[in-house]
């Protein structure tokens, strides 16, 4: 049981990175970006290319790919979302579905359907208090925790993070407080891109690198973001941990194949009983 809970914790903390990206993008741009799955896939393949084709070690490959993917996200916004910005969240959401199809199939075109893995040495699992932890889980736990800590500092202690939260809170007021919304949108895409890249690599290490790898995480990612309250960074983190742990613990009583149903149940329950999520704010329709 402790082992299952630990596995759930690791899954949850991996999901927290894309969930935070979803919630940041939703907060600032007011749309649900369904391309996040395919974005993680593309970033995972970028690291795969650097790691296996150019023989870069994983750390520099991940850092370089994360930065490059951050810039790619700014470019994707310029080409795909910016021209549609005035048409509302629904149009942007549909555009993100289209972008997701394109990105996933670009990865498929380049590397085929076969599952691949990073060039990493095999390592013995580590045991602590009857919990078996493999190296990939430990890396995922440390990297994702560090990334979330950096995001916490950025969002609460740094002017750029405060400005992102301000634009998410009230875009018109942000403008008359001197905040350049266009610059904040670029920063948001860059940071979301880096989070998605790191998330993609961790998923690739935990499972395998293949075209549908990101899409298979879409439901838990959105369940985490909705559970926490779309637009709430802290909510995304807590929501992801809860989704990860509850999904894994559920396998103690239901067949593992039905695990994916847990996040769907959570989404349904949250939308019925607390639509604003755990940390989101209730909106009053006037």
């Amino acid at each position: 049981m402790l082992q299952t809970a630990f596995n759930g914790l690791v899954t949850g903390i991996i999901v927290a990175l894309p969930a935070l990206a979803v919630t940041l993008l939703f907060g600032v741009l007011k749309f649900a970006n369904f391309a996040v799955g395919a974005m993680m896939t593309v970033a995972a393949y970028m690291v795969y290319a650097l790691n296996t084709e150019l023989d870069w070690p994983m750390l520099p490959a991940t850092v370089a790919a994360a930065v490059a993917f951050g810039f790619m996200c700014i470019l994707m916004d310029l080409v795909t979302f910016k021209p549609l910005r005035e048409r509302g969240g629904l149009t942007l959401m549909v555009a993100s579905l289209g972008l997701g199809f394109v990105l996933e199939n670009v990865a498929r075109l380049a590397y085929g359907n076969a599952a691949r893995s990073y060039a990493m040495d095999l390592a013995r699992p580590f045991r602590f208090m009857d919990i078996r932890m493999n190296r990939e889980q430990m890396i995922a736990f440390v990297v994702a925790t560090l990334a979330m800590a950096v995001m916490y500092v950025l969002l609460t202690r740094m002017p750029i993070g405060r400005a992102m939260r301000a634009v998410a809170d009230n875009p018109a007021l942000a403008q008359v407080r001197g905040i350049d919304s266009a610059a904040i949108i670029r920063w948001t895409w860059f940071i979301a891109g880096m989070l998605l890249a790191v998330g993609g690599v961790l998923i690739g290490m935990d499972r395998a690198i293949e075209p549908p790898m990101g899409a298979s995480y879409l439901i838990p990612v959105f369940a985490a973001a909705i559970l926490g309250g779309l637009g709430s960074p802290l909510g995304a983190f807590v929501g992801a941990l809860l989704i990860g742990i509850v999904s894994e613990m559920a396998t103690l009583v239901i067949p593992p194949n039905y695990r994916i149903g847990i996040p769907l149940l959570v989404i349904a329950a949250i939308l019925i009983f607390r639509p604003q999520g755990l940390f989101g704010q209730a909106h009053i329709r006037r």
Binding site: P159, R162, R165, A166, N170, A172, Q175, V176, Q281
Partner: protein
């Protein structure tokens, strides 16, 4: 007294039609100018256009003789215009201190030096320090208005534009807010405000502008407007009396 702000033939609106139909006004340096007029006269549209939130379709807006018509809202802020909206004027999910930090950091364009909250600001808004850690959304209406006002003054502006600063406030906060406006004006900040509580606002104003149907109908010293026996018709218009508010007045 030199002119700090001028609006010439301003047209603006939503959709196909213009709400502002050629607004002209000027603000002298160091004065308080209050805009009054009946509902739907275009007062809020005017201040939104001056702040840059609504695009001017025609005409010009000059700050210290330089056109700011093509500037974005943040650029206008950096040029010296500070705007306090009527509602949704604080970041509700951020703390009081974070609201003030944002104002200090971004309204100055990164040039602000010294503490986040100056002694002058604390003197004007003594309630604020005890609520630094509170979420702005949890403040009362009056406290929120004070916070919005404090944010607008986090970097000393050349011109402070306020949209109905006393709207929805209790009598105590209403008195406080007009008192603050008078004190801020005393430090050399010019003020242009839209206000429904005309009598209170005119008591601290130098000039009064009356708007109706998207145009300036009258511009007079505030003291002389206060003495008008039919003052109510100026800001309630025909809703109160069935009379056009500007019918017997001539534009100054």
């Amino acid at each position: 007294m030199s002119e700090i702000f001028r609006v010439e033939g301003l047209h603006a609106g939503y959709g196909a039609g213009d709400i502002l139909k050629g607004v002209d006004l000027r603000v002298e340096e160091g004065t308080v100018v209050t805009i009054i007029g009946p509902n739907g006269s275009g007062k809020s549209t005017l201040v939104k256009t001056l702040a840059g939130l609504l695009r001017a379709r025609q005409g010009d807006i000059l700050l210290k003789g330089t056109s700011i018509r093509e500037l974005s809202p943040p650029q206008r802020v950096h040029a010296g215009i500070s705007y306090v909206p009527q509602e949704y004027n604080v970041f509700r999910n951020l703390t009081v201190l974070e609201n003030l930090k944002i104002a200090r950091e971004f309204m100055s364009g990164g040039r602000a030096k010294g503490p986040v909250v100056s002694d002058e600001l604390v003197a004007l808004f003594p309630e604020l320090p005890s609520r630094f850690k509170a979420l702005a959304g949890n403040l009362s209406g009056g406290q929120r208005q004070m916070l919005a006002f404090a944010c607008a003054l986090a970097v000393k502006p050349g011109l402070l534009i306020m949209d109905e600063p006393s709207a929805g406030l209790s009598p105590k906060y209403m008195t406080d807010i007009f008192d603050c406006i008078r004190k801020v004006n005393g430090t050399g900040v010019s003020v242009l405000m839209v206000e429904q509580n005309a009598i209170e606002a005119l008591r601290i104003s130098d000039e009064c502008i009356v708007m109706a149907t998207g145009r300036v109908r009258m511009c007079s010293p505030a003291a002389s407007v206060l003495e008008m026996p039919d003052l109510q018709t100026l800001y309630l218009g025909d809703a109160a009396t069935g009379q056009e508010p500007w019918a017997s007045k001539s534009a100054a």
